[in-house]
């Protein structure tokens, strides 16, 4: 008899998909919104229980879909790490929907609103599936679902600019998934398996015999570049600013905070569960990722400094933050990868906070987006101002906030690496300065005295709830990083 908690991963994915399908039957956008929020919060709660059970029991398990045994059936694999990521992702999803709801109801036409939440539920389901699945082809299918749903939520705000941005996003995503698919096809041809444990056995056997080294390098390269294109790794980021900056507030928050991470988490699980991080290092892929990551950290920040449009600035900052994650993976040590996973969590909480606050501030000022026009907006909604300040400081790396802890872990992870250590430490320092160069002026502009009299804006309770919760999240990640990194360490060692 299966212990009852082992059903949680499947139930979570299934709940999101069923919810998504029933959305068009909802009366209007409001009920659809609350259904989606309720579903995400339920998933978050379930995953929270699962994390506690798995962490205290120091266990991980494989769930067989439909009770078909290993080489034939489809499986889910869940350990403490996956459960914690599922918890974070679903909580952030619920808060993003809640926090951006007012702008959302204005930006999306009323008859289309339920469909918007269908897409959000599909994204949630695919994020969970990418974190839980044990089968690489199932992963590919959910990558495509996630891509289509992400494009749909970009174009939900139906302006000429967002549609053009969507088509660019779609084309580049398709290139990425094409490369990923051919990589998977080659992996299947070499090994004859699709489930990760079976793949691991075969890959291990072949690598020990020193055979197929070049094909494996090509496979890992294709998988990395495919996922890198989709998650805006350094040279492939051109699609991101317009897609993330032009969409409605909730979409921007979800796209920047969550969708990019789903792909990276899946790539990471392939690295750990099919190959091992040592093998990836031996194949020299980590060096490429390291170089691209460091370049992304610099270029993203430099572009953000030049940007006047507040949401596009945040989008460029996402490129830099994704660069940190790839740098951590590129270190190729357990410490570096732990830091990368921690950064995934920190960015998943911080960036939605920033986008929601920016969205709220621009809503107060009649949807103005340029920093110049937003001067003094923070005085009209103090909470949004504080949220933006806190998020910005976390990105710069002020102690007690999540971003600082992430940087500290990166530095610690790089310590034993020789040349890479110096590059990584210099890059961390330089990128902190660059982050400060655009976040500090933005924060000062928002708090400065504008020409007009700051009359407080009408409060928005949904926004207040989600901004407070996300701020608490940033502070919690900064002050209580120990337990989180312990869960990550345990989860990675079990993979």
């Amino acid at each position: 008899m299966l212990p009852i908690y082992q059903n949680i991963p499947f139930v979570c994915i299934f709940l999101c998909m069923v919810c998504g399908i029933t959305m068009p039957l909802q009366k209007n956008g409001r009920t659809a919104l609350w259904t989606a929020v309720a579903a995400c919060l339920t998933v978050s709660l379930l995953c929270c229980c699962l994390t506690l059970i798995l962490y205290t029991g120091e266990e991980s398990f494989v769930y067989q879909m439909g009770h078909f045994p290993a080489p034939w059936g489809n499986e889910l694999y869940v350990g403490p790490l996956e459960a914690m990521l599922g918890m974070t992702f679903s909580a952030v999803m619920a808060l993003s929907l809640l926090g951006g709801r007012r702008t959302l109801m204005e930006d999306v036409l009323p008859p289309k609103q339920p469909f918007y939440f269908t897409m959000m539920c599909m994204i949630m389901a695919s994020l969970l599936a990418l974190s839980f699945t044990n089968d690489v082809f199932t992963g590919y299918v959910f990558i495509e679902i996630s891509t289509l749903a992400a494009c749909a939520i970009v174009m939900a705000r139906d302006t000429e600019k967002t549609i053009a941005a969507t088509i660019r996003y779609l084309v580049i995503s398709l290139l990425g998934s094409g490369l990923f698919l051919i990589g998977l096809a080659m992996l299947y041809c070499i090994t004859g398996h699709l489930l990760m444990p079976q793949l691991r056995q075969k890959v291990f056997m072949l690598l020990v015999m020193n055979r197929y080294r070049v094909p494996f390098t090509v496979v890992v390269g294709l998988l990395t570049i495919g996922m890198g294109i989709k998650s805006a790794m350094f040279p492939f980021y051109a699609w991101l600013p317009q897609a993330h900056g032009g969409a409605t507030t909730s979409s921007s928050a979800v796209l920047s905070g969550l969708v990019l991470k789903g792909y990276i988490v899946f790539l990471l699980r392939i690295f750990y569960r099919v190959f091992t991080i040592q093998e990836i290092r031996a194949l020299n892929i980590t060096n490429v990722m390291f170089a691209f990551g460091v370049a992304g950290m610099m270029v993203g920040s430099l572009m953000a400094i030049r940007e006047e449009h507040i949401k596009r600035m945040l989008a460029y900052s996402s490129i830099a933050q994704i660069g940190y994650i790839f740098m951590g993976l590129g270190l190729g040590t357990d410490g570096g990868v732990q830091a990368a996973v921690f950064q995934i969590m920190v960015h998943a909480v911080t960036k939605p906070l920033l986008f929601l606050c920016a969205g709220r501030l621009s809503e107060i000022r009649g949807h103005e987006k340029s920093l110049y026009r937003l001067r003094g907006a923070a005085r009209q909604d103090k909470l949004a101002g504080i949220g933006f300040t806190l998020g910005g400081l976390s990105m710069i790396g002020i102690p007690l906030l999540g971003g600082f802890a992430a940087k500290a872990f990166f530095a610690a992870g790089a310590l034993t690496m020789g040349v890479k250590m110096w590059v990584a430490l210099l890059a961390l320092a330089a990128s902190s300065v660059l982050n400060a160069l655009y976040y500090i002026p933005a924060i000062l502009a928002l708090w400065s005295r504008g020409e007009q009299d700051p009359s407080p804006a009408a409060p928005d309770r949904g926004f207040m709830t989600s901004a407070s919760a996300l701020m608490a999240g940033v502070l919690a990640l900064g002050t209580m990083a120990g337990p989180v990194i312990a869960v990550i360490r345990m989860g990675l060692s079990m993979l």
């Binding site: 941005a165 084309v171 094409g178």
Partner: protein
């Protein structure tokens, strides 16, 4: 390697060679074409090439399709059915992506009156948010 051996090798790898060539054509066109409709065609060529590659890996010369027939019970008489299953899933994905893509292009055409990607991007830059 003499010509005969080379040709034999090439014939035995015909599906893989075709798949690689088609993938190249599809990928380059998807990346470089300006016309969005041609981009969709290129995307379909690219995906089909992957399906050809996958299906050819499951194909074994001289064996029959994996559908049970009277009197033939041994697995050694049939080709490998798993790649066919993967290809089927892949086709479903590719069809839905194409449909979405086409709908998007139609929408763009209504706004910009062209399907040329570069022109659209130039026009989109001038629009205010």
């Amino acid at each position: 390697m003499d010509l005969h051996a080379f040709l034999t090798k090439a014939v035995s790898l015909r599906f893989e060679i075709a798949a690689v060539i088609l993938f190249g054509i599809g990928f380059m066109n998807l990346m470089l074409r300006h016309n969005l409709i041609k981009k969709i065609v290129a995307f379909n060529v690219m995906d089909s090439s992957v399906f050809l590659f996958l299906a050819s890996q499951g194909y074994i010369d001289g064996r029959i399709a994996p559908i049970a027939r009277e009197g033939i019970v041994g697995a050694e008489h049939y080709v490998n059915p798993i790649p066919a299953g993967l290809v089927l899933t892949g086709i479903v994905v590719s069809v839905s992506v194409s449909a979405f893509f086409l709908a998007l292009v139609q929408r763009l055409y209504k706004h910009y009156h062209t399907v040329d990607f570069d022109e659209i991007m130039i026009m989109a830059k001038k629009k205010v948010d």
